[in-house]
Amino acid sequence: MQQTKRAVATGVALLTALALAGCAAGGSGTDGGGDAAACAPADGDVTLEFTSWIPGIEDVVATWNEQNPDIQVEVQTGPNGNSGTYANFFSQLEAGNAPDLGQIEYDALSSFRVQDGLENLAACEDIVAAEADFIPWTWGQVTLGSSDGVYGVPQDSGPMALFYRADLFEQNGIEVPTTWEEYKEAAVKVREAGGYITNFSTADINQFAGFVWQAGGDWFTNDGDAWTVDLTGEQSTTVADYWQELLDEDLVATYPAWTEEWNNAYNSGEVWSWNSAVWGANSIASGAPDTAGNWAVAPSPQWAAGEQSSGNWGGSSVAVFKGSEHVYEAAKFALWLNTSDEALTALNESANIYPATTAGLSLPSLQEGVEFYGGQKIYDVFAEAAEQVNPDFVWGPTMTQTYADVSDGFQSAVTGQGTLLEALESAQASTISTLEAQSIPVAE
């Protein structure tokens, strides 16, 4: 008796769920008009959902909402992409209720593309026409190496340069290195003076990738059919061997990045420089408050004297998710958010976002001297670096796994087991097998 009742109850619950599911699916199917490849304006008023974790983004969006009563944008937030929001995007895509727009860092964009989670904005004229406004390499990041696809609007970039303790370098008579060779010589002198020239981070593979990027290496290439994985190419090997030497000779510290020890190493003057991205300016200012006024920024050391090449670390785009019913409006908003002066200024003020447009680099807020860096106009250095980043560097579709594998290998290398190069070799193999396991074609 009881059992029958329960069975009936379960059945009713299931049926309800199914019916609701049917409604939901039917609803979105008719409104969406198939795959909506075209980029056409909607008839009436539109409300867009936009997920981003940038602090203060609400205020920027509020400005848009005031100016565009017919295209209202609702902001939704969450933690940093890799700390949970990407995972959510994937489940939302799975459930068919992804927001219209989402913030996606460049290195994750391929993963979403491969899962068919992004609308191709190449259908939107305004987007295609905007290519010239962006720093060339950031555009390369959103086309993912294809000629007929645009999978997001570049938002910010992370050109790299050398932060260094101007006071300590001067006191010890060490020249600011302009090549990696000089950097190593300086490292020896710094070690003699009792410090470390820099900290080699094993957890954040993005920095290392930035070094490889600067050296002209390509970890991934995609010819439209298949992915080529090349973690152990000539340039990667050069970079890995270089840092391996520094590690072997105990010339660099190896604190885990962004921990208290790491902050302390910088704050106490144990570590003297950091080749990092533009946003690193804040990391130092917040992590090493006692050293205010003693830092300066110089262009990254080069592999050959006289070269002008920069790496990049970080940066993100705003993408339109598959299934959005308002691609046109979404694209319009994304473009405004990342190209208009008022939005870029607001983003820079609220979250230190470093714009991806060439015009954005001359924002008034980026022309001022920074007190923490002795009044130096540090953004001039980064603006120059931004123009020197190789536009062809592409991220693979399984970066999470690649990062994890390289990081594991690097961690053992730092403790004396294996080398950085061996770490890259094993990550190369596991990346290929991960791609194959997900049926993503790999070129031999």
Partner: protein, 301 residues
């Protein structure tokens, strides 16, 4: 519990008989247990102490002064900054947490109490099977259910709502288990019979008679569930997208992932974490009275 109270209330008299029987055991075991307790007390209290100290410092002092002692007293300044940052979103999160945990734990306790009571006091077919299934539920980690729940809630458009976090929280298999065990031993069948003879319905008997006898178990279920919901992190992470709905744990986590860009968030996260444990401490202090009294009553009887 009994060990704790005995040791705490120990007087020299208590040890007199023991000493006659065997002094070695008493000295050694007492010393050892004190040591273990001392170590664990420190283990649990030092992080809270650190958190408190860190909340009183400004950003510069945080890294440069000793971690376990005060520098300049900046606590109220920090709290002020925290609750005004981003239009006071922190207070909103705190209220949300109280809502999720308070309402969720209350409903969970009622449901689990009734369910456990029914399992203990009524005989029906499939009772053991049902109970075993509930017991199985204890073994399934909440994390494993979050994603399926998300897909389910998506179908009925309940994601990113208050309900998305509240509804799953009112299920407590452990609560059902505890309620059943406790009801079986503490609610005499005679009392229920007496209630029936006096003409009270089953529901009335439950709420007027049985609930009182089951109080210690129910308070335990409430506390457990309150803490579980308060600390639940994965479910809000999966379900929620509007920060007006975030519970405090998830909100602070979000801030913590943005430290690279917004340095002042470091202080807010610390002060915010410290303040967020205060409601838990209050709940515990208020409720443990019932808890202990109840357990005591049970044992005397």
């Amino acid at each position: 519990m009994s060990l704790l109270t005995r040791t705490a209330g120990a007087t020299p008299d208590d040890f007199a008989p023991t000493r006659r029987r065997g002094p070695r055991e008493s000295m050694l075991s007492r010393g050892a247990s004190l040591l273990v307790m001392g170590v664990f007390t420190l283990y649990f209290l030092v992080p809270i102490w650190w958190l408190f100290i860190a909340s009183t410092k400004d950003r510069g002092d945080l890294l440069t002064t000793p971690a376990l002692w005060f520098a300049d007293w900046n606590f109220f300044q920090n709290v002020g900054d925290l609750i005004t940052y981003n239009d006071g979103i922190y207070l909103r999160w705190l209220l949300n947490s109280l809502g999720y945990a308070g309402i969720g734990a209350l409903l969970a306790t009622i449901v689990a109490g009734m369910c456990g009571y029914a399992l203990a006091k009524y005989r029906f077919r499939g009772r053991e099977t049902f109970f075993n299934i509930v017991l199985g539920g204890v073994l399934v980690p909440a994390t494993a259910l979050a994603l399926p729940l998300f897909l389910l809630f998506s179908q009925v458009n309940l994601t990113n709502t208050f309900w998305a976090v509240l509804l799953p929280s009112i299920v407590s298999p452990f609560g059902v288990y505890l309620s059943r065990i406790y009801a079986a031993s503490s609610v005499p069948d005679e009392l229920i019979e007496a209630g029936r003879i006096d003409g009270a319905g089953e529901v009335r008997t439950f709420f007027t008679v049985s609930v009182r006898l089951m109080t210690p178990a129910l308070v335990t279920v409430f506390l457990f569930q309150f803490v579980t919901i308060w600390n639940n992190f994965f479910l809000p992470l999966i379900m929620l997208r509007s920060q007006e709905l975030f519970p405090v744990t998830f909100g602070l986590y979000g801030w913590n992932t943005q430290l690279n860009q917004i340095p002042e968030l470091r202080t807010y996260v610390l002060v915010g974490s410290f303040l967020s444990i205060v409601p838990l401490i209050i709940a515990f202090l208020l409720l443990q009275r019932f808890w202990r009294n109840g357990l005591g009553t049970g044992s005397v009887k």
